[in-house]
Symmetry: C2
Subunit: 354 residues, 2 copies
C-alpha cells in the first residue's frame, strides 16, 4: 500500500439493536454475535492489518470504549485511538480523523471502514481496497464501495450509478438514497442501477477536507479554529468541537452533494449485520428456518426462530414460531420478530426500571 | 395429638414436570417454584411440625435425595428418613412406612401427606387432620381428605361420596376415579357428589396392614419375609423388597377396593401444583393473564404467559402469547402452553444429547 495511506476504523456504535447480546457496555462492534471466536472490530482489524501497519491504523470510538478497544486490539498505539465525547454520526467522526491525519501528513490518503460488518471473502475485500486506493491516487475524488444487491432490502442505503455499463468495476455515482420503502427498494433491486452502500470510503485527505470546506463549512471551521489536534489539549478541544457539532452522516453531509463521487463494485460478500433479520439471513438455518448459535439449543416443532445464547447455556424451545431469543449476562430477551424495531428501546426500559 | 400418631411425608417425586425449575437433582418437593422463600417439603414439614414432634415425623424419599432432605429438614432424626432405592409409587412407599412404624409401635396411627402440595390455610388444614385422626380413633377404617372442586379439572383424581348430604364433614366413599376426561370431569363437577383426591390419608397402622394383607398380599408377603426393618440390614432388605415390587398407587391397590373408606371434606385451600397450568391458576396474574415470579420481568404486548426465572435475571418478553418460560442454572425452556405435556421429556432429551 501507498506509505501515505491510513486506515480509519469507525467504531462509534452504541449497541442497542442487538441488546442484550450487545449493550452499551459492549456495543456490537466489540461483541462476537456470530460466535466467530472474535469480535467484529477484532476481525476488522486483523483483516486490514494485512495491508496496513499498526501505526497507520486509527480507531474512532466513544471515549467510554477506550479500554475495551485497547483490550481487544492491543497492537494499535494508544494515540491512534480517537475518543469521541458524544455520539455525532459519521461526518464528525470522519472529520476528526481527517483533520488529525492531515496534520500528521498533508499528503495522506485515508480509507474509512465500519467496525461491525461481516465480510465473507477477505482476499477479495483487500483487493477491492487496493484497487480503490489506486483509482483515487490517479483520479482523485471520493470513492465509496458498493455491493450488488441480492434482495430488495429496506434497511440499507443505496447508491445509483451513472453508467448502466455493468461490466465497469468503478463508476460515477448519480444518487445516494437512505433506507428506501419496500416499493422503492424493489424498484432499485429490479433496475440494476443500484448498489448497497457498504459505508467504506477511500479518498485523499486533502480532498475530503476540501469537501468539508465546501459543504459543511461550520464543521470545517470548528476543527480549524484554535486547533489542538495532536497536542496535549486534543481531548479538551474535541470535547468543545463535538459539543457544537450536529448529528449528520457523511452520506447526507458530503456524498449526496459532492460532484466527484465514485463507487467501486465490491465483490467480497458483505452484510452490515445491522438487524436480527440480517443476522438470520447470514446464518446457517436448520430445516425449519431456525438459526441458533449453539449446539446446546434444542428446537422442537419450532420455525423461523433466531437463538443467540451463551455457549454453556442449555436451551429447549418447543412449539413456537418467529421468536428472537437472546441472552447475555443477566439479561434474557424473548421478542416476536414482528417487533424487532422495539429492541433498541429495551436496554433503556431496564435502566428506567431501576 | 394422640401420642401413638405418626406423620409420614411422601417425597418420592422425581421432578420432571417443572423442569428446568425442578429437575432430577432437585425435584419439585425440594424446590421453591412459588418463590415462597422455602421449598414445598420444608413448608410441609413446618406445617405438620406444629402438631407432631420431630421423632414422630418420617420422610420417604429416593435414596439419592437423602442429603438434600437432611439439609432442608435438619430437625428430623436421620433414622426417620426412609430411603427408596427405586421409584415404586405410593402403595410401596406407604407399605414401607407402615410396616416400619408397626414394628416400632403396634398401636400406631399414621397420617400420610404428599410433600409437594400448596396449602392456603394452615390452621384449617391442621384442624382437618386432627378431626380426621379423631374419627379414625373412634371408627377405624381408611380416611382420605377430599377437596370440593372449583372447576372441571382433568388432572386430579376424584372421590365420589356415598351420601348426597353435603353438610356432613366425613362421608363414606363410593368410588375413586383417576384423572377423568373433560366430559367426565364436567359431570363430576356438576354432580356435587365428587371431591378432588388430595392424597392425604389417615388410618390406624394395624388397619392398613390388614388391607395390604387382603388386597396386596404379594406386597405384604415381601415385607414380612425375613423382615429386617429397624435393623442394620434395613437398606439391603428394602433394596430386595423394592426390586420385587410393582409400581402401583395406594388408590388403585387399596382405596378403590377396601370396604371401609371414608373421606373428610377438607376446607383449607389446596392445589397439587402438579402442572404449570395449575401453577398459573394459583398465582397472581397481571391484566393480560400473565404470571411472573419476579419484578425484574418486563412483559410488553404479551398475554397468558408463565414466567419463572431466577431472582436476579432481567427478562423482557415482547409480543408473544401462551408461553411457559422457565430458567434454572444453565437451563432455559421456552415452551408453548399447548405442549406442556412434553416438558417431562426435556431433561432426558438433554441427557441423551450429551
Amino acid at each position: 500500500m501507498n506509505p501515505n495511506s491510513y486506515c480509519v476504523i469507525m467504531a462509534g456504535g452504541i449497541g442497542n439493536r442487538f441488546w442484550p447480546v450487545s449493550n452499551r457496555h459492549c456495543p456490537k462492534q466489540f461483541s462476537d454475535i456470530l460466535h466467530a471466536g472474535k469480535s467484529f472490530i477484532r476481525q476488522t482489524y486483523e483483516r486490514i492489518a494485512q495491508i496496513f501497519p499498526n501505526h497507520r491504523i486509527f480507531i474512532v470510538t466513544g471515549k467510554e470504549y477506550e479500554e475495551i478497544t485497547k483490550k481487544q486490539i492491543p497492537e494499535i498505539p494508544d494515540e491512534n485511538i480517537l475518543k469521541e465525547p458524544y455520539v455525532r454520526n459519521t461526518a464528525t467522526c470522519i472529520a476528526y480523523a481527517a483533520y488529525k491525519i492531515h496534520l500528521l501528513n498533508p499528503d495522506a490518503y485515508m480509507i474509512t471502514l465500519p467496525s461491525d460488518h461481516f465480510i465473507c471473502n477477505d482476499a477479495a475485500y483487500l483487493q477491492d481496497i487496493k484497487d480503490g486506493m489506486e483509482f483515487v491516487e490517479k483520479q482523485g475524488g471520493l470513492l465509496t464501495i458498493g455491493i450488488t444487491p441480492t434482495r430488495a432490502e429496506t434497511e440499507y442505503g443505496y447508491i445509483q450509478v451513472k453508467s448502466k455499463d455493468n461490466t465497469r468495476k468503478i463508476s460515477e455515482v448519480k444518487t445516494f438514497t437512505e433506507k428506501p420503502n419496500p416499493e422503492l427498494a424493489q424498484m432499485f433491486y429490479d433496475s440494476d442501477e443500484f448498489l448497497w452502500n457498504a459505508g467504506i470510503f477511500i479518498w485523499r485527505v486533502r480532498d475530503i477536507i476540501h469537501e468539508f470546506k465546501t459543504y459543511m463549512y461550520d464543521l470545517h471551521a470548528l476543527f480549524n479554529t484554535d486547533c489542538k489536534l495532536n497536542t496535549p489539549g486534543e481531548a479538551k478541544f474535541i470535547q468543545s468541537v463535538y459539543g457544537q457539532c450536529h448529528n449528520i452522516s457523511i452520506d447526507v453531509g458530503i456524498m449526496e452533494k459532492s460532484q466527484q463521487v465514485y463507487v467501486l463494485k465490491g465483490n467480497f460478500g458483505w452484510s452490515d449485520v445491522g438487524t436480527w433479520h440480517a443476522f438470520h439471513a447470514l446464518c446457517e438455518k436448520d430445516d425449519n428456518n431456525n438459526t441458533s448459535n449453539s449446539e446446546k439449543v434444542i428446537l422442537n416443532d419450532t420455525r423461523d426462530c433466531i437463538v443467540n445464547v451463551p455457549p454453556r447455556k442449555n436451551v429447549i424451545i418447543q412449539g413456537v414460531n418467529n421468536l428472537i431469543i437472546a441472552e447475555k449476562d443477566h439479561y434474557l430477551m424473548i421478542c416476536h420478530r414482528k417487533d424487532e424495531e422495539k429492541i433498541k428501546q429495551f436496554e433503556k426500559l431496564f435502566r428506567l426500571k431501576k
